[in-house]
Amino acid sequence: MKRNYDLTKVITKDHVGKWVALSQDQTKVLAVSENLEELEKQIDDDTVIVTKVKKPGVSYAF
């Protein structure tokens, strides 16, 4: 399966701080929620990629 690795157009400023579910190929956002519990209710596919969109303007190092 071909996967999109350029998320600059998929995840936008509207998603900041929210939980999102990305399609397996990462081409689109399937669901958005303020909390993980609600997002879980919206998805029933184990291959969906879940993430919480980080705050902008921060340089992250882990």
């Binding site: 184990d46 969906v48 980080k54 882990f62």
Partner: protein, 140 residues
């Protein structure tokens, strides 16, 4: 030996584009729930470290986990909870790794660290080409 080239994941950080060596990883919970997240291949992490929110979804009782403080740029001593978990590396035919994972409050989904992940994979970063390569280590 199985080897895959991955493009760096590009994300807008509000000021500029960030580049991450990320791969999808499926976390298998005690409740058999499978949650797929995007894992950072992180040579600087000793353990695999996951966002605390995922522990609840995966049916992990933090009271049964080993307290294991974590440190990093945010300082040391942040509460962490270590337990054994199954990780499945999606693009390697869901290759399953049984490994300790530390759950803690932090901003990323999961870091794939030296213990567990790098026991099974070799990494070649080629940032200038926008790719990195993971090679499955057949020695383990």
């Amino acid at each position: 030996m199985s080897s895959i080239k991955f493009p760096y994941t590009r994300e807008w950080n509000g000021n500029e584009i960030d580049y991450w060596a990320k791969i999808p990883v499926a976390l298998v919970g005690n409740n058999k729930r499978v949650l797929t997240v995007s894992g950072i291949v992180d040579t600087g992490a000793q353990h695999c470290v996951a966002k605390l929110d995922y522990a609840r979804v995966l049916g992990i009782n933090l009271d049964t986990c080993e307290p294991y403080p974590v440190g990093g740029l945010g300082g040391s001593g942040r509460p962490g909870y270590r337990t054994n978990l199954e990780l499945r590396i999606v693009d390697f035919n869901y290759f399953a790794i049984q490994t300790p994972v530390i759950f803690t409050e932090f901003d990323e989904d999961i870091l794939l660290g030296q213990k567990g992940f790098f026991d099974h994979f070799n990494l070649n970063l080629q940032k200038a080409k926008g790719i990195f390569t993971l090679t499955q280590n057949k020695l383990k």
